[in-house]
């Protein structure tokens, strides 16, 4: 639906404020939609069209319910494409719409400049629509149930991708031919067969054959070293029907598309929050809107005691960094100063704050952001703590206010966005064509029931037994599924990434 005039004017106004502060974004297109459409698009993760799957219906069900019961309300949705599409909720007050627009420009600028987004497909709206068409076609040919249950299997594996792959090499887009290339041993052909023995001496040929065989043997070790992109690996090596390979490829492509958003949650939301606050309070807000704005803005950065709000911690960190770089609170001198009074009064008047935060939003992701800028002083000022469950009372209690512990816990939660590290180790395990995966254990066990079911799904794709090396209750174990039953056996030692 086209934007009504008063909102279109508002857009122009706010866009000029955003540009005035140096934000740089793709053309941004707003759509005004009702809450049902909002839930629909939110269920489709921001896109108007996705492939048919019940999972989206389930999300929709959940969101509509929570909206109807007033448990939550989706204020804004923006997607990383060029042009950038953002959705406004019909019936929101004008000050809410202003706030959302200001927030959206923060996101759009972030999408365009943060380097973790540099490899994403900016025309993903078309991409998603194409995927939908392809999946529908497969459903027409191979049956809805067939394709749907295969998608279920793929979803079960869609977190097994390699976050660094987009920065390393082009992703394999197609399966290699499955016909084996014949060994070329450099035999010279001649029409005169009696010459054969002389121009192709048998010893030489034998030597060549051995060399070629050995090379092939090496190439046979699949993968050459442990690999995290399981989905890509399956596309290359699993015995898939062509439609299955296509569906798997679609799921994989979309997983990689959404990956940077999960890697930069705190930074992205923090940046958007920083800018809605800045744009609203310095430019867009009218006096009579102040109270409504304050209430909405407070809602965004509200904290629950046992959960970190990425909006809140993000915006506080940007503000802290801005302040430090304005006053020159960085570098050797600052680090070595332990006079509290001097630190409090420290101000070199550098005014580098703005340029520093713009640089950070370009180069960092959540892990590096927290690692570098989550300082002792920041931690104290914002009253962070770690909590843990008291076994005896069953209640959750503050455990510690020790800086190092807080930061470690936080980084651990963020690393690999909270997902376990799983590697493909060996495609011909035990020389029986079995697939071997390994879990790099970082202190937390896998959820066992889920791990079993995931293995079962994997076996469906691999069509041979699959195993996972992991650690359960501090003991190295191997979980194996052979198509009929799950076995868990002891391993002599824990798997390590060599």
């Amino acid at each position: 639906m086209a934007l009504p005039r008063h909102l279109a004017e508002l857009q122009a106004e706010i866009e000029s404020y955003a540009l005035g502060y140096g934000l740089d974004f793709f053309t941004t297109i707003y759509e005004l939609i009702d809450y049902r459409q909002m839930c629909e698009i939110a269920a489709y993760e921001g896109f108007p069209v996705r492939y048919p799957h019940w999972r989206f219906g389930m999300e929709y069900d959940r969101m509509m319910k929570s909206q109807t019961y007033g448990l939550s309300k989706i204020y804004e949705l923006v997607i990383n494409t060029d042009p950038c599409y953002a959705y406004l909720l019909e019936g929101n007050s004008l000050v809410d719409q202003k706030l959302v627009m200001c927030h959206v420009y923060g996101h759009c600028d972030f999408f365009k400049h943060n380097r973790f987004f540099s490899h994403t497909d900016r025309r993903m709206i078309d991409g998603m629509a194409n995927h939908a068409t392809r999946v529908r076609r497969h459903m027409d040919r191979h049956g809805v149930d067939n394709v749907e249950s295969f998608i279920d299997v793929c979803h079960s594996l869609d977190n097994l991708i390699d976050p660094w792959l987009p920065f390393r090499k082009p992703t394999p887009s197609r399966r290699e031919p499955s016909v084996e290339i014949p060994i070329n041993i450099g035999k010279i052909t001649s029409e005169r067969s009696y010459l054969d023995e002389y121009i192709n001496p048998p010893e030489f040929i034998e030597e060549q054959r051995k060399r070629a065989l050995k090379e092939r043997e090496q190439r046979k070790r699949i993968p050459p070293q442990p690999e995290r992109d399981l989905l890509g690996f399956l596309m290359l090596h699993a015995p898939l029907e062509s439609w299955e390979a296509d569906v798997l490829g679609i799921i994989r492509e979309e997983a990689y598309y959404f990956l940077p958003q999960r890697q930069t949650k705190i930074m992205n939301e923090g940046w958007a929050t920083y800018w809605h606050s800045k744009l609203m309070t310095t430019r867009a807000l009218r006096d009579d809107e102040l109270i409504d704005y304050a209430e909405a803005a407070a809602g965004v950065t509200a904290m629950a005691p046992n959960q970190l709000n990425p909006y809140k911690i993000g915006v506080e960190l940007y503000r802290d960094i801005e302040d430090r770089w304005n006053k020159g609170k960085f570098g050797k001198q600052w680090d070595e100063c332990d006079d509290q009074q001097a630190r409090d009064e420290w101000d070199l008047g550098l005014n580098l704050g703005q340029s520093k935060i713009f640089e950070i939003r370009r180069l960092y992701n959540d892990v590096t952001f927290i690692d570098e800028f989550f300082t002792l002083e920041f931690c104290r000022r914002n009253e962070f703590f770690t909590f843990t469950e008291n076994r005896r009372s069953g209640r959750t209690e503050i455990e510690s206010r020790e800086f190092k512990k807080i930061k470690d816990t936080m980084l651990q939660q963020l690393t690999n966005f909270g997902q376990p590290f799983i590697y493909v180790v060996e495609a011909n395990y035990l020389n029986r064509g079995e697939l071997l995966l390994a879990h790099r254990h970082e202190g937390v066990d896998l959820r066992l029931g889920y791990a079993r079911d995931t293995l079962k799904n994997l076996e469906r794709i691999w069509r041979r037994p699959v195993s996972l090396l992991t650690i359960i209750d501090e003991k190295p174990k191997r979980i194996r599924y052979d198509g009929s039953e799950i076995q868990i056996s002891d391993e002599p030692e824990a798997w390590k990434l060599s």
Partner: protein, 368 residues
């Protein structure tokens, strides 16, 4: 046109129904549903609908938080992320709670048990005429005057005539402005089925037996209600004497005393004679007991009542017998030997909660 998300949503509902069907026995034997009625929803936890992935297990409730307090102070339960919840980050709750209405559940049960739709008995296309208010007309009694429509007509007329003054907004309807509600008479097929439930609440029926009876009659009731619109029900409880009670009382009462089954049957005959002419009504009677009747004479009286009055009047007479902790459960044997070949009398033994489903099937598979 049906939107894409609605298709996905419908698909999701289908899957939910499938899962419910697989676990129907468990849900059906849950006693807490019997306080509900047709449109009310029931939440059913559904753990398997989540997509399994390799994810971290329980990290012993550890994490980082923000706020005041000293080590050892309790941390309050949060209410989730701040106001601006964003889409597409649901890591999946531990289990999904799905809501279905009772009617839906009854229908799933019907499909699962392969229950036939019930054929109505012969000649009774009873109709009642009901008036429904559907529109407006220009004449009518003053008591049906539609104030808002009248006012709007008057306002429109005054604006058109130029006599409306926004600064002095007085609207005076005249005769032509008046609008009245009009009605239409609609024939409505009248309910023509009645279920009469009889339950033995004598002292020999233990709590578990009563629970079984309640759950079973609740589901029969729910199923039959989904088959007939506006079905009538009557409830009789008996020990040595019988009385008619309200539905709520039937499902909650606890009494004790001796057992005279004939008292209930007599009551039932009485109700049928008083209110439900068998030539116009589909009558279903169900009786649940532990089969521990007071005397042989009383059983003989029961059989006589059944043969002479009840079976000829009813579409079906169902007798369900629960396991008696004390007695012999002789009554069902007596019935079977007396009416062995009579298929309008259905007997069923319900030993445990798990038998409820099969017993319902026994009762309703005839589709009478």
């Amino acid at each position: 046109m049906i939107s894409r998300i609605e298709k996905d949503h419908r698909r999701f509902r289908e899957i939910v129904r499938g899962r419910i069907r697989e676990n129907l026995r468990r849900y059906v034997s849950r006693g807490d549903m019997i306080t509900r009625k047709g449109k009310e929803t029931v939440s059913i936890p559904m753990p398997q609908i989540d997509i399994p992935r390799f994810i971290h297990g329980d990290n012993k409730g550890q994490g980082v938080g923000q706020g005041e307090g000293d080590p050892g102070d309790p941390v309050g339960e949060g209410e989730g992320e701040g106001g601006a919840g964003k889409a597409g980050e649901g890591e999946g709750d531990k289990s999904v709670e799905v809501e279905v209405t009772l009617d839906e559940l009854a229908q799933i049960m019907g499909e699962e048990l392969g229950l036939p739709r019930i054929e109505p008995r012969g000649s009774q296309n009873l109709e009642t005429v009901k008036d429904r208010y559907v529109g407006l007309r220009t004449t009518g009694p003053e008591s049906l005057r539609h104030f808002k429509a009248t006012f709007k007509r008057a306002l429109r007329r005054q604006i058109a005539m130029g006599t409306y003054d926004p600064n002095h907004p007085i609207i005076i309807p005249v005769r032509e402005d008046r609008r009245y509600r009009s009605w239409k008479a609609e024939p409505k097929p009248q309910s023509n089925a009645v279920i009469i439930y009889m339950m033995d609440v004598s002292g020999s029926m233990g709590d578990e037996q009563k629970e079984i009876v309640r759950v079973e009659s609740f589901w029969i009731d729910t199923w039959l209600r989904s088959q007939y619109k506006g079905i009538e029900s009557r409830y009789i409880i008996h020990d040595a004497t019988a009385r008619e009670v309200e539905r709520e009382v039937f499902f909650s009462t606890r009494e004790s005393g001796g057992t005279m089954i004939s008292s209930a049957y007599r009551k039932c005959v009485e109700i049928i004679e008083r209110e439900f002419d068998p030539s116009n009504w589909n009558i279903y009677a169900f009786h649940f007991s532990d089969g521990d009747n007071w005397s042989v004479d009383d059983t003989a009286a029961c059989i006589r009542l059944l043969r002479e009055s009840l079976i000829p009047a009813c579409n079906q007479f169902g007798y369900g017998q629960v396991e008696s902790p004390y007695g012999s459960g002789q009554f069902i044997k007596d019935l079977r030997s007396a009416f062995g070949d009579q298929d309008l009398l259905v007997t069923s033994e319900i030993k445990t909660k798990d038998d409820i489903m099969d017993s319902i099937r026994e009762f309703l598979k005839g589709g009478r």
